[in-house]
């Protein structure tokens, strides 16, 4: 299992065994590079042993506090602080941690295992029960490598992947493997896991009463909170770089880091297919780097390299995903430059309402409710929508009358990849039926967007679905595939706690404008006003021209006419991953 995770931690490998317990760890040394800080780490009194994946950004403050209370430390790592804090406070210490983390602590005395995961779900933690006890790891593939886990498909995981493009928590692609949900801890006694306990549900930040404040005060709040988060995320004993696209989020991170005195290098990937077009982020990124006086590295990626890397990408991709190729190449570029840590602007769109979905989905839901309020209208529209779905090869259209009148439904229509009716053709009728039944909900796999208003509801859904299940998971496998730690200053529980009450005021571009003005030297207006492009890769073109058409053209597809590349890629990923197993 540990070997399977080699790229996650090439700097050191450790195993700790005790009666009935084995803890293994691979280390990517970032804080306290000395071997003393290797893991598994045992507490001074020998009672607790920890394996920890992630970073605690406020570990120095916590350490000072503990030292003031007489606790002694052997290293300058965050792992030892975490261990000492748990020894004193148990699970009550969790809300005090600022960072991304998934860890396990074995209590030799009580013979209990404590597992916990950060509130936003940045770091993954999977577990499974076997006949001999419990296995856990940062990767599903590591659990499979044990040879103790059945590779039987989980219908809900597969159905969820086809519906959403990523496997929704708490499911995985395998029947016996589960995710410890974000913001939860889990106690394991005598090899038997109890029910996960939620210690921080980030949904609360979009619920309850919102706060109103003046634009100036809110700007100051944003400036302080984001600066504070970037400062926290710069804590490292190795050089830090930043993914620099042409967007506001990464530019702000670069600007703030620069303002805080960090000499971060901007890493940008460019594609010949985008050269001279609006999607080409290289010139904009170069302009941003020059604006802040930062070194800038541009890495060109070609279709040939993509084709060559496909096996590596699919190997690193722990659970199937339709995204992450962009992060894979950006991480590769950073790793080639010798970096172990990079700041990523992921999460900025979810917190600061950067997606068009923040405007579109509430509007759609309002329109949908208006239509649904007309007696018989929903039934009246059923036939034309079904006809259009078929004739335009857009299966989602058939579900519009059913789902249009709620934010959740509109979100499903906007974000989903396939629709429930297509699942039997993709995964077999029985599997599809079981999968949909286990996913539950309407639309399937959706949580209720119980929020203070439409904008907040979209923020909640984007953060707990798309960000958590797709973007953060992709960031983890794509980064760790190159032994690179991706840090996400804009996905931070402390930041969310501060700005959560104000998120509804970020709609319509206000949030991004405030973010853009956060650095001491604000972004140029040309960058602020540049139309959003996303962090995209010419996948459609690459795949359509790929020499190996198994990856693309020859796949039988439901509703094939004009099928978006992501749907074909999804099938490719599942088929290839199945071949690899």
């Amino acid at each position: 299992m540990v070997t399977r995770m080699h790229t996650r931690g090439p700097d050191a490998e450790g195993l700790w065994t005790s009666a009935g317990v084995v803890l293994g760890h691979r280390r990517l040394a970032i804080l306290d590079l000395d071997a003393r800080a290797n893991q598994p780490m045992v507490s001074i009194d020998g009672r607790y042993t920890i394996v920890f994946n992630g970073e605690i950004y406020n570990f120095r403050e916590l350490r000072r506090e503990l030292e003031a209370e007489g606790v002694a430390f052997r290293t300058t790592s965050d792992t030892e602080v975490l261990l000492a804090l748990f020894a004193r406070e148990g699970e009550r210490m969790l809300p005090r941690l600022r960072g991304m983390f998934a860890f396990a602590i074995w209590d030799t005395q009580s013979r209990e295992l404590f597992l916990a995961r950060d509130p936003c779900g940045i770091k993954p933690l999977y577990y499974t029960r076997t006949k001999d006890g419990l296995l856990f790891a940062s990767q599903v593939k590591a659990l499979l490598a044990s040879g103790l886990v059945s590779a039987e498909r989980e219908p809900a995981g597969l159905a969820g992947f086809y519906l959403w493009g990523s496997v929704p928590e708490p499911w995985t692609l395998f029947q016996d493997v589960f995710v410890l949900p974000a913001g939860h801890w889990l106690q394991v006694r005598a090899g038997v896991p109890e029910s996960p306990v939620c210690w921080h549900d980030i949904r609360q930040h979009w619920q309850g009463e919102g706060c109103g404040t003046s634009a100036y005060e809110l700007q100051e709040q944003v400036r302080q909170a984001v600066t504070d988060s970037v400062r926290a995320h710069l804590v490292a004993d190795v050089p830090v770089s930043v993914f620099l696209s042409g967007g506001i989020d990464s530019a702000v991170l670069a600007g703030l880091a620069s303002g805080l005195g960090a000499q971060v290098e901007g890493i940008t990937i460019g594609f010949d297919e985008f050269a001279g077009r609006h999607e080409d982020e290289v010139p904009v990124a170069a302009a941003i780097a020059a604006h802040y006086g930062l070194p800038h590295f541009v890495r060109r990626v070609s279709r040939a390299e993509f084709e060559q890397d496909i096996p590596c990408i699919l190997d690193a991709m722990d659970q199937p995903s339709i995204d992450g190729v962009n992060t894979w190449f950006a991480s590769k570029a950073a790793a080639e430059r010798g970096y172990k840590v990079v700041l990523s602007g992921v999460g900025g769109d979810e917190l600061f309402c950067g997606y068009s979905s923040f405007r579109q989905i509430p509007r759609t839901a309002v329109i949908g409710r208006a239509i649904a309020a007309i007696p018989g209208a929903r039934a009246l529209l059923g036939a034309p929508c079904a006809y259009l779905a078929k004739s335009l090869a857009k299966p989602k259209l058939a579900f519009v009358p059913a789902f249009m009148d709620s934010v959740e439904g509109a979100y499903f229509l906007r974000r989903s990849l396939f629709v429930p009716d297509e699942l039997p053709a993709l995964m077999g009728a029985d599997m599809a039926r079981q999968g949909l039944a286990r996913l539950g909900g309407s639309p399937p796999g959706m949580t209720q967007a119980d929020a203070r208003d439409g904008v907040a509801a979209v923020g909640l859904l984007e953060s707990t679905h798309y960000l958590r299940n797709q973007l953060l998971r992709d960031s983890d496998w794509a980064g760790m595939g190159h032994s690179l730690e991706l840090r996400t200053p804009l996905v931070d529980a402390a930041l969310l706690e501060t700005l959560g009450p104000y998120v509804s005021g970020f709609a319509g571009g206000a949030g991004k404008a405030m973010l853009a003005r956060s650095p001491g030297k604000p972004l140029p207006e040309s960058i602020i006003n540049r139309p959003k492009t996303g962090f995209s890769v010419p996948m459609a073109k690459w795949l359509s021209e790929a020499a190996d058409q198994r990856a693309w053209g020859n796949l039988p597809m439901p509703a094939a006419s004009g099928t978006p590349w992501a749907r074909r890629w999804a099938r490719t990923v599942v088929e290839r991953m199945t071949e690899c197993e």
């Binding site: 759609t364 239509i371 007309i374 009246l380 249009m404």
Partner: protein, 509 residues
């Protein structure tokens, strides 16, 4: 008396069933329009598909409404304002001409339009569809019918309206003389048609409206002459001669105005009058209008280009205008630059989707700056604007929203007026609700005036046809719809009283 009874041309047995059906159609169209908006919002269809869907929905809906009306009521069908407005304000400006956006990119770019469908065009189209439904709902409503009955029973109208179809020849010449003097004077003062300048129009703001009223007496004379000509199955030679004379006069000044619509409109007026009297569609009208359009393009477009490019152009001299017009046409033959075909140019000229959508985008992204028109206020104050002369109201707002649109919304700095469409105007005034209520009112007034006026014989038709332009081509400055009706209705009543011979009272009366 040639009276009109509301039920005489209606088949009441089908009314209830048709009524239910049309209500269902309207509900379905509202639902479909909202549905298109919803699926566009979440990007399930592209903007081009959305535009195509809205266009087809609009055309389909208007077809169903007009077919339904045709099935119930054929009398003066093609002079019915709601039918003509459906064609001119909706089908032409936002329907068939939308085909432009599906033509090759270079063709669309050549005529200065956006080669792709934008989200704002689709938002505009939603308003257009809602406006269309509202207009027809207003037309079919009890309020529209009540307004019509109220006009039919009006003692004032009964007293003043002449049912005669014979014109008073001295009055006809007086009308033509007044309009000729007004036009020549307008040219002399630099406020005539395309030859005018912004500064001269501003300077003459207090009297230009009276000039345009006087000029329109020519069109009124044309209506009267055509009525007399087509009243009997075989028109007299003298009547035909008179008709050609007045028609030629109107067309000539149409060319001089530099507005293509002013060239085509006299033929349409004659055609409409023909239809109203013979109760059959004048087939000759179609080729005549096509030729008139082509001729107007051939003459007016080069004239406009020359007028804008020639710094020495003098718009206050009839001779100068004529010289520019003829020289522009001869020099135009040498112009070998890349130009769109006349057909494409015609489509582009008549399509408002892209230009109007710019205002929808502007309203969504901007607060109206200081000095912007008071869109809602102008509608509310339309009666005052119509009735109070400028010399009594020095601060009376100028009708320069087209210039404001060019400068503010489109970002051009030159003096040129751009039609934003009534939908964009109403969206500025109060969003979709304003569009709905605005066009509901339009429909009510169309029904009221159509039912009310056509019952009064020749005089009623003159008033109706005099108002037809206002009722059919809903102006970009939406408030002028009300101003036009309030201002012109009494004038037209007086004009028909003067123009038409009074019937001799019979002994029985």
């Amino acid at each position: 008396m040639n009276s009109y009874a509301n039920s005489s041309h209606v088949r009441p047995q089908s009314r209830t069933r048709n009524g239910m059906l049309i209500v269902a159609v309207r509900v379905l169209v509202v639902c479909l329009a909202l549905l298109i908006s919803a699926v566009l919002s979440i990007e399930l269809i592209t903007n081009s598909q959305g535009l195509a869907a809205y266009t087809l929905l609009l055309l389909g809906y208007l077809y169903v409404e007009t077919r339904n009306l045709w099935a119930r009521e054929t009398h003066l069908f093609w002079t019915n304002p709601v039918v003509l407005a459906s064609i001119f304000t909706f089908v032409i400006a936002f329907g068939v001409t939308n085909v432009l956006y599906f033509l090759p990119e270079d063709v669309v770019t050549l005529v200065g339009l956006e080669p792709i469908a934008t989200p704002w065009m689709n938002q505009l189209m939603l308003l257009v569809v809602l406006g269309g439904i509202s207009m027809w709902v207003g037309y079919s409503s009890g309020m529209g019918r009540s307004t019509g009955r109220m006009l039919q029973r009006s003692r004032v109208l009964r007293k003043w309206m002449s049912p005669s179809l014979r014109i008073n020849i001295p009055a006809l010449y007086a009308f033509l003389a007044i309009s000729l003097i007004a036009r020549l004077l307008a040219i002399k003062l630099g406020v005539y048609g395309y030859s005018s300048t912004y500064d001269q129009l501003i300077a003459g703001a207090s009297y230009t409206q009276y000039f345009s009223m006087a000029e329109s007496l020519g069109q009124l004379a044309l209506v009267g002459v055509a009525l007399q000509c087509f009243a009997s199955p075989r028109s007299a030679f003298s009547d035909r001669q008179l008709l050609w004379l007045v028609l030629g006069y109107e067309v000539a000044f149409g060319f001089l105005s530099g507005f293509k619509s002013a060239v085509v409109m006299p033929f349409i007026i004659v055609g409409i009058v023909y239809y109203s009297q013979r109760n059959r569609f004048p087939r000759w009208l179609i080729p005549v209008v096509v030729v008139a359009i082509m001729a107007s393009y051939a003459v007016i477009e080069p004239f406009r280009a020359a007028r804008n490019e020639d710094a020495g152009f003098v718009g206050t001299s009839l001779v100068s205008i004529l010289t520019t017009m003829t020289s522009a046409n001869s020099s135009n033959a040498d112009d070998s630059g890349e130009r769109a075909s006349t057909g494409i140019s015609f489509l582009a000229r008549n399509n408002l989707t892209y230009v109007a959508s710019l205002g929808i985008e502007y309203a969504a992204n901007n607060e109206l700056p200081a000095g912007s028109p008071k869109f809602l206020g102008n509608i509310i104050l339309a009666p005052a604007h119509a009735l109070i002369p400028r010399f009594l109201w020095s601060d009376k707002p100028l009708q320069n929203i087209g210039l404001w649109y060019t400068n503010r919304v489109m970002g051009h700095e030159f003096y040129s007026s751009t039609g934003m469409s009534p939908f964009t105007y109403l969206n500025f005034a109060g969003g979709p609700l304003a569009v709905i209520f605005g066009f509901l009112t339009v429909g009510i007034l169309q029904r009221g005036l159509f039912d009310g006026l056509r019952s009064f014989g020749g005089g009623g038709l003159i008033v109706l046809f005099g108002l037809l332009g206002t009722l059919v081509i809903i102006d970009s400055a939406f408030d002028t719809f009300f101003i036009g009706i309030i201002r012109f209705l009494p004038i037209l009543v007086v004009a028909q009283y003067v123009l038409l011979q009074r019937p001799r009272r019979s002994c029985a009366e």
